[in-house]
């Protein structure tokens, strides 16, 4: 595919992607921070629904021979160290790399700083990559997927895992109905914790 048609397709897919991120409210900093403080579970609902649907469609693409897999290589140290840093960044940014752009699009001003910091972070890594490569980015287990580990054909395992996620999501919805997590201004901000637990400070200080 030519670069121009890839760019046009990317733009079209991105518009849908951004539209869904906005409609799902997962781009809201209060949704992301609320999830990481285990107070609001909207992000997990959206994320696991996306994974479940992905498992079904990718399972179908593999089963029908229309496509193979494009997994990333397993690099234990890099996956753990990088993941921890990524997570810390997500908490401070109140965004992940993709939702940063959605925040910029809807008009959040601080997201422009997140974007600038992200570009500098990616550039810094690029300059350090030759140094980091022998330490963090070599070896590992290659493009390892669970179906190979378990010896189960990918589509079956993918459909089975998707079914498990659906069961989990049904349970999650019963525990925390999504409509109660959207917030009055659709930004995922729930009433302050104090208002749900009145008079705790005096009790706590009395015990101390």
């Amino acid at each position: 595919m030519s670069v121009l048609s890839a760019v046009l397709l990317g733009l079209a897919m991105g518009v849908v992607f951004g539209f869904l991120l906005e409609k799902s409210r997962v781009f809201e900093p209060a949704v992301i921070l609320g999830q990481l403080q285990l107070r609001n579970f909207l992000m997990l609902k959206i994320f696991l629904s996306g994974v479940a649907a992905g498992l079904v469609v990718i399972g179908a693409l593999v089963a029908t021979g229309l496509s193979g897999l494009h997994p990333k290589a397993t690099l234990w140290t890099a996956d753990i160290v990088g993941g921890l840093i990524l997570g810390a960044g997500i908490a401070l940014a109140g965004a992940c790399p993709g939702t940063t752009l959605a925040q910029v699009g809807v008009g959040y001003k601080d997201a422009r700083f997140t974007l600038a910091g992200g570009l500098l972070g990616a550039l810094t890594f690029t300059y350090l990559e030759p140094t980091l490569r022998p330490v963090l980015l070599e070896g590992g287990a290659g493009k390892l997927t669970l179906d190979k580990v378990l010896g189960i054909p990918f589509p079956w395992l993918a459909f089975g895992f998707a079914a498990l996620l659906v069961v989990g999501l049904v349970a999650l919805e019963r525990w925390r109905p999504w409509r109660e997590e959207i917030g009055a201004n659709a930004d995922g901000l729930l009433p302050p914790p104090e208002s749900t637990a009145p008079a705790v400070p005096t009790a706590a200080s009395g015990r101390a």
Binding site: M1, S2, V7, G10, M13, G14, V15, G18, F19, L20, E22, K23, S24, R25, E28, L33, G34, L36, Q37, F47, L48, A53, L55, V57, I58, S67, P71, K72, W76, D79, V81, G83, I85, L86, G87, A88, A91, L92, A93, G94, P97, G98, L101, Q103, V106, Y108, K109, D110, F113, G117, L119, L120, A122, L123, T124, T126, L132, T145, W178, A186
Partner: protein
Amino acid sequence: MPALTDRAWSPYLAGALLGLLQIPAFLLIGTALGASSSFVTVSATLAAWVDPAIQQIDYAAKHLSGAKNWWQVALVVGIALGAFLSSRLSGARRAGIAPVWERALGTKSPATRFLLAFLGGFLMLAGARIADGCTSGHGLSGMAQLAVGSFVAIAATFAGGIAMAHLLRRV
């Protein structure tokens, strides 16, 4: 029935539709959804204007050209456009700083928030590039391909995120 003018859709519907975007990614581009490597393509392209030597770094060179790299840049630009469009249709416009930050940081100071946002962005992309993926590439795409490294990376991401979020004030 969800309408384009709704402020919020069911997270299950919106999430599932996000997952369906894997179909054009796999069939037409030959890759899975991702977002963070576009930050390398854009920043290395900008840096190449002042430091052409960056093109000598293999990692930069791999990200500077090619349909897949610029497809992803277009994808994230599209994300901004799509989110803008959706918020205009529903009237859920945003400006300034989200009110959650005053609660989380205990201050209204924009300078504090801008500084933390910049630092957060820096860590986010540095970490994503070390792990070779973010919540899209490892999360949505890696887990949907049952990639072992992606499960590890996402577990670490949530661990790091939950730890850092608990250092902030409760929102």
